[in-house]
Structures are given as structure tokens and as C-alpha cells.
Amino acid sequence: MNFWNDPLKVAADWLTGIFTSWGMNAVFAHVLVAFLGVLILITILMVIDVFLVWIERKVVARFQDRLGPNRVGPFGLIQPFADIIKLLIKEDTTPDGADKVVYNIAPLLSMMSVLILWAVVPLAPVMIGVDLNAGVLFIIAAGAIGTLSIIMAGWSSNNKFSVIGAFRQVAVMVSFEIPMLAMLLIPTIFSGSMGMNAIIQSQNIWFVFLSPLAALIFLIAAIAELGRAPFDLAEGESELVSGYNIEYSGMKFGMFYAGELLHAFTYGGFWAILFFGGYRFFGLEKVSPFLAIAIIVIKALVGYWVIMWVKYTMMRIRIDQMLAFNWKFLTPVAFVLVMVTALMNALLSGADSWLYVTGMILSNVIVAWVSLEIVRSVSKKEREKVEGLKPVVEAHH
């Protein structure tokens, strides 16, 4: 066990040794070292967050056929720091009649709900915050705290648009948690455990090949959870004047914004862990944990890029369309997929791996095709109902 194989344990032992040689109680030293580890992880995450702002602005610029920030520093790399300085020196207003304590805690809770997610992310086979055996359920739990922070932000701003935006956003988040939870069960079925490390270790074939529909539905539900386009009705600037963060200015708004970007990056990471093999890449992760960290960060960035790609390509959806999409299409398909996957897993559990993979992919394709056929026939009926109506006034003569 040297530094290259197990850096965290070596560092923790060395620090604990130093603290006990200063005369500290062993338990106390252990707690202090754990606290320092958490502090270092959060610092690294916030630094990554700053560069995510840069990545976001450059990528959106390229999608929109322009260059993006390129004045401040080489390739605009210092731009996020300039943004942070601007946010810090802005006036910190509190609206009249707002609930001060709740108003000030809401952005902190929002950032907290993102940071605690990283306690269960396995960065390397030996580097994970807490190897919870209910790791995937922890993702939903942290999402619940995020939901709470949005309601607190919307309500305490003492502003009707803010309340409506917060209600809509929370309705969307709570609704889309259901297909996401169902899709989190699919890697659990395949790997037989809910722990993150166990899911990665059992991905000899990436789960995206075993169940592509599950990866797709998880991505859609994750984008809705994040509150990003096309599901960002609550916080788009042209709708509801920015929803729940109307009354927030300065660094409090910065916390919401940076928290949202970090949340998107984290969900890109979870998409990679659950469906794309996490830190595994043809055995490279066994060489050194640092290589494993690099692999998972690259996969998370690819997932984040896909989320950004969806955001900057698709139009915003109306709130009733969003909720109808979830309850009438996504949730039934998700549940049917879980049942079919469990059934196929039980039927094919002893089979050869090629048969298993083909059987799973076929079952996914059949579920997707059947659901699309049902949607097609329903929309055909709706269209026939509308076509029979004549327009009241003709648009062109």
C-alpha cells in the first residue's frame, strides 16, 4: 500500500500519526482527518464548478456559432473569476417583507444538496466518501433536499411570480423523481446491489448496452430534476421573470447558478457511473487511482456535454405538457421497463452472456417500440379530432 495505489489511506494515516504525536485523542484525530478530507473534496468541487461556468459559456457559444468569452485571459479562462468578482461586489438586497432567515438559508441548502451527492460518488475503487449500501437511494434523498430549498426560496421572497415559479419547479421535480427512481432500479437489478462501487464493479458490459432505454429515460428524468431546458419553465428569464430566483442578487444568485451547473455535472457523473461503467475502462483503473479519477471525470464531462447539448438544442416545454409527458408517458414506460427487465433477468440469469445481452436489448427495443406505437395511435386520434374543425378566420387569402 503505497501512495500511488491508495493515496487517501496513506495521507490519512500520516496525518493521524502527526495529530496523535501532538497528544490528541485518537478518535478526535480520526474525526479531524475525516473533516479535512471533506473540506478538500468540497474545495476541489468548487474549483471545478468555476471552470464549469467557463465550459458552459464556451460550449453554448459554439452551439450558437459564435466564439464565447475570449477577451479575459487566454481563451477566456479568467472569465469565470471576473464573474465571481462581479457577483461578490453586487449589492446584497433582501426584499421588503421577506422571511429573512428562510430567504438566506435557501441558496445554502440548494448548494448543500449538490455537495452531499459527492459523498457517494466513487472516484476510484478505493476512493469513495461513504460506500453506502443504499447509494442509489441517496441520490433521490439529496434531490429531496434540493426541492425543499426551491420552495423555501420561492416562498420567502414575498413575490407572487416567485411563488408560482417555485410551485411549478417543485411539481416538476417531484413528478420526475418517479421515473428516475424506477430507472435507478435497473442497474440494481443487473448488479444485485444498490451500492455505487458494486454497480461499477459488476459492469463488465456497460449497462447502457444492456438497457439503452433505461439510460435514455434516466437522462430525461435527470434533466427535468436539474431544472434545465427543455424543462426550465420555472427559471427561464423569459418565463415568469426568472421564477424562484427573481429576488436573489449577488452571491446568493451565484450560489443558485453555480449549484445548478455543479448539479448538472454531478448528474453527468451519475449517468456515467450507472450506465457507462464509471471509473472502469478496460482495466486501466487498476493501474492507479489517479487514472481512475481521470477516467470518471472525463466520462462525467461527456455526460455533462450531452446535457448541455440537449439544453441548447431544444425548445422549452409548457408546464402542463411537462407534467402530462411525465405522468402519461414516462412513468408507465418506466414501470413497464422495470417489470420487463426483472422478468428477463430472472429468465436469462443463468444464460451465456451474449444471449443475455441480446435478450435485454431486444426487450428494451420491444418496450420502446410498443410505447411509441401507442403514443402514435393516441396522437393520430387527437389529430383527427382537430382536423375536423374548421379555422374561424383564414390566415392567408
Binding site: V27, V102, L132, N133, L137, A141, G143, A144, I145, L148
Partner: protein, 169 residues
């Protein structure tokens, strides 16, 4: 006083303090938020009891669904943006007496039980509570019938709640 005991005392004090704020807070939205703090404290108690799955389910179900439902209901059932009137009714002292008597009675009854001060047994290594729980909930020799009945109960509650709260325009 071991570290675990100090931690339990802290968490217990926070939970009970938040619970007191729930029942005495004048502003109902604050009461609902204090409820969230109490539920969080209870989730930490579950982790102290080595019931990690129950702790995470507590956060998902109680904080993520029930507390949000309470906050929505509080916001939808008020005439003005702030609460008016007294927060407790005129017999609140009788309620306080009953509560204290209940607590005293429960403690007195329990401390005469022989197993009151027993300490926890060590959990055997390799014991996976989640898989055992899954087995218990789905095996016919276990508790599959209450599990299925609970699902039917939730379905009935879902249909009932939608019907009751539906606004027929």
C-alpha cells in the same frame, strides 16, 4: 461518555428542540420547516441504529414527499400571506398536562421492564440488512401480504386524495 453517546445527546437535543418549535411556532410555514429539521434528526437516529436503508427512505419519503406536501397545504389554505389569530386553543394548558403525564407514564412503565438498559449486540460481520429486508418483504414466509396490502392502501389513498382535492370547474 463515549463519542457515540455525546453525538446521540446532541442529535436528540436538536430533534426534540425542533419538535418543540414545530408545535409552538406561530407561522405555519416555519412550523413545517422545523418539521423538516425534526425528520432529519430522526433520520440521523436511524443511522445510529445501523438502519441505513430506513434512514435514506425516511429522507426520501418524509422530507421529500410528506414535508413538501405539508408546505404546499399550508400555502394553499391561508387567506392572507401571514397567519392571524392565536396559534393554540384556549385549553392548551390541559393539552400540556396530558402530554407531560403521557411522557411520565411511559417512562415509568418502561423503566420497570427488565430489558430497559440493555446495550446493543454487535452486528455479525457480513450481515446485509438490505438483502434481508428485501427477503422479508417479498417472501411468502415473510411479510409479503402486509407489503401488498400497504400498496393497495397507498393506491386507495392516491385515488381518494385526487378525488377529494379535485377542483371541478
Amino acid at each position: 461518555m463515549t463519542g457515540e453517546q455525546i453525538f446521540f445527546l446532541l442529535v436528540g437535543l436538536v430533534t426534540l428542540g425542533a419538535a418543540l418549535m414545530v408545535v409552538t411556532s406561530r407561522d405555519l410555514v416555519h412550523a413545517a420547516l422545523w418539521l423538516v429539521a425534526t425528520l432529519f434528526g430522526v433520520a440521523v437516529i436511524y443511522t445510529l441504529l445501523n438502519a441505513g436503508f430506513i434512514a435514506v427512505v425516511q429522507v426520501v419519503v418524509y422530507i421529500g414527499a410528506i414535508a413538501i406536501l405539508f408546505i404546499f397545504a399550508v400555502m394553499l389554505t391561508r387567506r392572507t400571506l401571514r397567519d392571524t389569530g392565536a396559534s393554540v386553543n384556549k385549553n392548551w394548558w390541559a393539552g400540556a398536562v396530558v402530554a407531560v403525564a403521557t411522557f411520565a407514564g411511559l417512562t415509568f412503565l418502561l423503566q420497570s421492564w427488565s430489558g430497559f438498559s440493555k446495550t446493543a449486540a454487535v452486528i455479525p460481520s457480513g450481515f446485509d440488512a438490505i438483502s434481508q429486508l428485501g427477503d422479508a418483504l417479498t417472501s411468502p414466509a415473510g411479510y409479503v401480504l402486509p407489503f401488498e396490502v400497504a400498496s393497495v392502501l397507498l393506491l386507495a389513498a392516491l385515488v381518494g386524495a385526487v378525488y377529494l382535492a379535485f377542483n371541478k370547474k
